[in-house]
């Protein structure tokens, strides 16, 4: 991973609106060909970050680079290689899907001939070829979103930035979009940056994610190691179901590790500890003829991140 080429880089990127700091000293590196998820609750500063990457708003401090080009100075060059799908993407509703795409193509200075072949390919790809001549006003949310992806692909970008691409879609629509995104990265070898507040939907397709809360990047890395970095000092909780439950059991568990806290809730045993005691616990249980029916570890996984940051009310910071 490390020897890969960095295509998007930010250093100390900061955006302040008067008193309010929307993005605070963001250092981020995104590698070529990966799907990076910028995940965080609403108002975390994701869109602001994206706008700064595209040169649509100027950073207060720090800088961002795409392919080594400064985003505030070389905006036009960057926009030629970066496709951007805004949240709440809108089209000219009186025009058909083809007309909308043609307009985008012409703005990008593509030849008329190439435009037509590209429109056909893209409509096919996002599964809209049958309705390509219908006015966009008649499209459903999911269709518009797919058309939005086709629209960002018109310029054949190396890097694609998608802002909340699954917002307001039904489960089928979300699946379609996510599959499309995976295809863009894996088959076409494009770099994809997705922002979303829907952690559960998006995490499964991301190579790496950054958790972004209150303008700050909390953690950044592959999804499976992320929980550990965020909750380094936090206690692990084991959820157990053991038969039979008796007084000796508690003593047995305490004998493994002195510092554990044990409580019971409806047939279930909750064991909190600083270290991972799963291995010892399972061994001790089987040695003492206890039957382990159920074991679940929680406290350091993404669910916990989700619970802690994403379900929190807006404005409540860590």
């Amino acid at each position: 991973m490390e020897d890969k080429k960095v295509v998007i880089k930010t250093q100390g990127l900061t955006k302040k609106y008067k008193e309010f700091t929307a993005v605070n000293r963001l250092d981020l590196e995104i590698f070529e060909g990966e799907i990076f998820g910028l995940l965080g609750p609403n108002g975390a500063g994701k869109t602001t970050t994206i706008l700064m990457l595209l040169g649509m708003t100027e950073p207060t401090e720090g800088f961002a680079e795409i392919n080594g080009l400064n985003t505030t100075k070389d905006t036009l060059k960057i926009k030629r290689t970066v496709g951007y799908l805004p949240d709440h993407v809108g089209f000219y509703e009186d025009m058909t899907a083809r007309e909308n795409l043609r307009f985008t193509g012409r703005l990008n200075g593509i030849d008329d001939k190439d435009i037509e072949t590209r429109i056909n390919d893209l409509l096919e790809r996002v599964n809209l070829s049958k309705v390509g001549d219908k006015k966009v006003g008649a499209y459903s949310r999911g269709m518009k979103q797919r058309l939005g992806i086709a629209d960002t692909l018109m310029k054949d970008p190396k890097i694609i930035i998608l802002d909340e691409p699954t917002l307001g879609l039904d489960p089928q629509g979300i699946n379609d979009i996510l599959n499309l995104i995976v295809e863009l990265a894996r088959k076409d070898k494009r770099t994809v940056l997705i922002s979303s507040h829907l952690l559960h939907q998006v995490q499964k397709i991301c190579d790496r994610v950054g958790i972004f809360v209150g303008g700050e990047l909390l953690a950044c890395g592959p999804i499976d190691t992320l929980g550990e970095t965020v909750f380094k000092d936090k206690e692990l909780t084991l959820e157990l179901s053991i038969s039979p439950v008796d007084d000796k059991l508690t003593e047995l568990i305490k004998s493994i590790n002195e510092g554990v806290k044990i409580r019971t809730e409806e047939n279930k045993l909750f064991v909190e500890s600083k270290e991972d005691i799963r291995k010892e616990l399972v061994k001790a249980l089987s040695d003492n003829d206890y039957e382990l029916l159920y074991l679940k570890q929680s406290g350091r996984d993404l669910d916990e991140i989700y619970r802690q940051y994403f379900l929190a009310k807006e404005g409540v910071k860590k």
Binding site: L51, M56, P86, V89, G90, D94, F103, R106, L107
Partner: protein, 314 residues
Amino acid sequence: MKSNCLQVLYKKELADHLKSKRFIIILALVAITGITAIYAAAYGIRSAVEEENNSFVFLRLFTASGNSIPSFISFISFLGPLVGLALGFDSINGEINRGSLSRLLAQPIPRDTVINGKFLAGVSIISLMVFAMGLAVGGLGIIMIGIPPTADEILRILVFLVLSVLYISLWLAISQLFSLLLRQTATSALACIAVWLFLSVFVGLLSGAISEVLYPAAKATTVEALLSKSKLELMLNRISPSTVYNEAVVTMLNPGVRTLGFITQDQLVGAIAGTLPFFQSLLLIWPHFITLIAVTMICFAVSYVFFMKQEIRM
């Protein structure tokens, strides 16, 4: 690359305008009122020609009013702003609300092409409308009164049409500015109409009231006082683009108008009654010309600066 983008945007805006129902409604409105006015003027023109000297008959088509129907130029001066406002009141905030502006700005185009393209397309539509109207009405006039225009008259009509384009473009620039300053299209439409009503109706009333306060009728007994009162009133009236436009158009289409504003008997002594040649009329309204251009430019420049600095956030 840049001019190409501008061209693409310009064409798209033009097509948008031409296809929109709004444009068709406005066009119908202007066409109906225009033709009515010309018809009424042509109807009464025969008697008018017999009474007075028969020079510049053709121009009277535009300036003469029928029994109860106002003249063509007063229709344009009243409805023209509406055309300009209707074309521009949602040009930027409409795009923002539809979510298409951020998509547009994500394309490799300089930001100013968006607002330039929109304004140019609007001005083109206005020119198209005004010149089509002018020519159609002129043709209709020839058929109805049977007198072709002289070269001098044609020049005057052309200047009149150019003035009308400028006047309506000014309102386009104003409405575009509102579409940038206000987020809701309904609000900007209302703001535009408020400005229009204020400038075309209330400025006239206010200027009368203000000059009355400063030079009360009871005290204004000297010639000088009366003169400065009417001068003040005229100047206040000229705040409104409608007044400027009306003055310019009346001067242009009525060669008998030799001066603007009030003059005393002393100043008239020795003057021979007659009409002004074309270039003298043009000279007389040159300040009006420049004013209309300047105000349009200022409005556009302000919107340009606003647009370039605006944060594009939904």
